[in-house]
Amino acid sequence: MDLAGRSHQNRNISKQLLPYFLVIPALIFYVLFWLRPVLQQFIDSFTNEAGQFTLNNYRLVFSDPDFGIALANTAIIVVISVVLEFFLALFLALLINRNFRGSSIFLFLVLIPMALPAVAVAAMWKTGLTTNGWVNSMLMYVGVLDVGEKIYWLAGSRWKMLALIIIIDAWQVIPSVMIILLAGLQNIPRETEEAGYVFGGNYLTVLRKITIPILGPTIQTAVILRLIAAIQIWLIIIVLIGFSRVPVLVERIVYYEKEVPRLEVSPLLVAGYTIIVTVIVSIAAISYLRVSGAFSRRDAEVEDGVA
């Protein structure tokens, strides 16, 4: 891109155009591989084989007996795990933020689960929760279980399975929530909290009246990002308990796409379920972007343009 030999005017124009040349590859990539498939999927979900408009796909999804259960299971997992993970992560972040002796090693350890791929975490708990697995072995070594006594972790009611999934999910993702909260905590100037103590506040009042309110936007960020990920939970469920026992939304898509792809209704159900997941996640994502201020800056630019 040797511009040295060109005239001053030419050079100015090409300088103005340069940023567009730089973003055009990304733009083309998005149009081809993101916008096109997503729109295609959206249109397909409203058309029948003859290419006419139909609501049949969605009617089919809503009449699928597993749909209600999958939606309910997803909602239960999302609500409980987001609340649980938030409080435990906040607790951990506050703990690490105290800068005690050894806190940097502790931070290092706490971040390990975040670095593990979902498949590795699934392998870890699958080998742990079988009846002869390491969880029962460990409980036997510490004396909780008698010799020969075993707990059947992976058998039982829907509620027990949901609890198990929520706990394992929490084990893996609390670090990623914690790291966001910790970054927020570290940005709070020490003096702000010290002022609270000067005016006679104890740890809990300072936390409730000063730290948490200042942390507000960070908390919203952490919670919504968690929400988006929790809605899409599937792998750990399939590995631990298999298909269809505790159906959730994304698990249904994988089931109809990979397990029973030859069923006549499968592609229709896949299309319907996919759009439903897309809409739910998009709502969460847009509310995140609104909270994080991405919208307000865009509005500001629009106003600038008008002025």
């Binding site: 973003v23 791929p117 084990w171 970054a183 898509i253 998009s282 991405a294 865009r298």
Partner: protein, 354 residues
């Protein structure tokens, strides 16, 4: 009498002891599962199926040989029970050697077995110990899992392609974001974030037909394109913040000294940006390496390594020690890279909210 000062010190001591007990408990909750899966991946098949599982893998295994009904009776020392357990009765030494290799993690040649059997003339039973091959689960995993080796190579190809595409495309956009004001910039910043949060499955499902049309279905390049969608967004954000932190005046100074714009960029900004660009590349690599749902949907005969490990877990017939070994192989690159770029993790989360 206890002085108030002593009482204060006592309570302080109790408090800090309780505090560290809490910290250690949390650390154990995180470390123990990791410890057990690592330990399990080194156990022999025989040990992995005993209950309770041994806490640590053994470096050596102790055996005893005696005469049995069908030939020779092989026993192995069970470290948990503290006694010898008979595992095989055969006169076929080749069978015994294979059994010891596959089930007991010990490589023994037939000649070595004959030596031990010759000793039976003088003493009965014969005791001997052999080194355990700690990596035998890993070797076995790659031997008996269909597609394990090709899928590993394929996964590395996909990761490299993803890094290449997302760093070049995203890096250019990131530079534009950092250095220029242009029409639609904030709109694009917003869409980049939105794309990053878009559910992977919602892109993978329609991509089946699109990639099939391009001839890229079940091909490494197809998955690399899909992974690049989210990673271009991430790279754009990371590189934008890197380029913003490098003063533009450096490039201007280079241009004053007669360098072209491109030369100025290559000679001044690029070297300074390299560590950050490496971090962005590692993010893209880990993202592509860890991903499973798109890989499952967009491959058929050419799965990625994560799909192979996933399938060995879902199959449920797989041996637990092999599943553990597969899981560890899956985790190694991610762990390695994450701890190299640990410094950048916080920066990135900070970057998301700013």
């Amino acid at each position: 009498m206890v002085s108030p000062r002593q009482r204060l010190l006592f309570f302080k001591g109790v408090r800090s002891t309780l505090f560290y007990l809490l910290v250690i408990t949390i650390a154990l909750i995180i470390i123990l599962p990791v410890f057990f899966i690592v330990s399990l991946s080194f156990l022999t098949t025989h040990e992995a199926y005993s209950y309770p599982l041994p806490l640590l893998p053994g470096v050596t295994s102790k055996f005893s040989l005696t005469h049995g009904e069908r030939g020779y009776l092989l026993s192995v020392y069970d470290r948990v029970a503290g006694e010898y357990e008979t595992v095989l009765d055969t006169d076929d030494l080749e069978k015994m050697s294979v059994y010891m290799k596959n089930r007991l993690g010990t490589t023994v040649s037939i000649e070595e077995l004959e030596q031990q059997i010759n000793r039976l003339a003088n003493e009965d039973p014969v005791y001997f110990s052999m080194r355990t091959d700690l990596l035998h689960n890993y070797k076995l995993f790659f031997q008996i899992t269909r597609d394990a080796v090709p899928s590993l190579i394929r996964s590395l190809q996909i990761c490299a392609l993803t890094v290449l595409i997302s760093l070049s495309v995203g890096g250019l956009a990131g530079y534009a974001f950092a250095r220029y004001m242009f029409f639609g910039k904030d709109m694009m910043k917003f869409s980049v974030l939105f794309v990053r949060m878009f559910p992977a499955i919602a892109i993978a499902i329609p991509m089946v037909i699109i990639l099939a049309g391009m001839g890229f279905y079940d091909q490494p390049i197809g998955l690399a394109l899909v992974y690049s969608i989210g990673n271009i967004a991430l790279t754009t954000w990371i590189t934008a913040s890197i380029f913003m932190s490098i003063p533009e005046s450096l490039e201007e100074a280079a241009q004053v000294f007669g360098a072209t714009r491109l030369q100025a960029f290559i000679k001044t900004t690029l070297p300074l940006a390299l560590p950050g660009l490496a971090a962005a590349a590692m993010y893209a690599f880990i993202g592509a390496w860890n991903e499973t749902v798109s890989a499952l949907i967009l491959t058929q005969f050419n799965p990625t390594f994560s799909v192979v490990v996933y399938q060995s877990l879902v199959g449920a017939t797989g041996q637990v020690n092999l599943a553990a070994a597969g899981g560890i192989v899956m985790a190694i690159p991610a762990l390695l890279f994450t701890f190299i770029i640990r410094r950048y993790i916080q920066q990135m989360w900070g970057g998301v909210t700013v």
